[in-house]
């Protein structure tokens, strides 16, 4: 499956905008990415292993946080996982 990498995180994937991994679940896909690019890990997860609050994982058009099996959700080759930091603010 394809994992789309946003610009801020590309320095940790050799400046690739997308990375293909073989995976059966969302968790395996992310694990495949971070094992290939170890520096990526700390940008996605806190030191205690939780997904950083501002990082959103979207499996196609679905927020992984709200899928019944979350990161255990099954994936196939045609799926796309998007890593998308949040955008918010105000005065």
């Amino acid at each position: 499956m394809k994992i789309e990498i946003p610009y801020p995180l590309r320095p940790y994937t050799g400046n690739q905008s997308a990375v293909n991994v073989e995976a059966g679940t969302v968790a395996e896909a992310v694990s495949g990415l971070t094992s290939r690019y170890p520096d990526f890990q700390k940008h996605l997860y806190t030191p205690d292993g939780k997904l950083r609050s501002f990082v959103n994982l979207y499996l196609n058009d679905e927020d992984v946080r709200y899928l019944p099996e979350r990161e255990g959700t099954a994936v196939n080759e045609q799926d796309t996982l998007s890593i998308i930091p949040s955008i918010a603010g105000g005065d």
Binding site: P6, Y7, P8, K42, G89
Partner: protein, 166 residues
Amino acid sequence: MTLRLSVQVYDALRQHGEETYPHECCGVLLGHFLEEAGRAVNAVEEAVRAGNTRTDSAHNRYNIAPQELVKIQRAARERGVEIVGFYHSHPDHPAQWSPTDFAEAHWIGCSYVITAVEEGAARVTNSFRLAGTREEDKAFEDEAIEVTGQLDPGYEPSPMGDAARK
């Protein structure tokens, strides 16, 4: 560091802030990351309006739904452009980043454009580049706004548009 955008895009994002006043507007800037003679230029081709999901406090907060952002990013990639920045307005508040803006900024390398809208009229527009390498060392840095091109014939800018243009 420079943010480069056409006068049409510049006026469009300012006009968006006037339309949503007294609420904050927000949107995404699509274009290319360029290096010109050692200078980092975020060259904008298009501004895409986004919905502000902070309906609970839209006068002083904005949030773009991640799902909308995913769709904007996907469509951008299909057209060969990238998300290079974001814009929002500060109704009756200066065009300076706030502690909330900084805390919620995570797109390192991207431009964050803020337009002050006073009593419904766009005033100053500023841009800030989110510099750094990670959350722990990120910082907003002032960046120049380079407005290119000319207005389309017949275009009527907002009353304050020319006065505020850098």
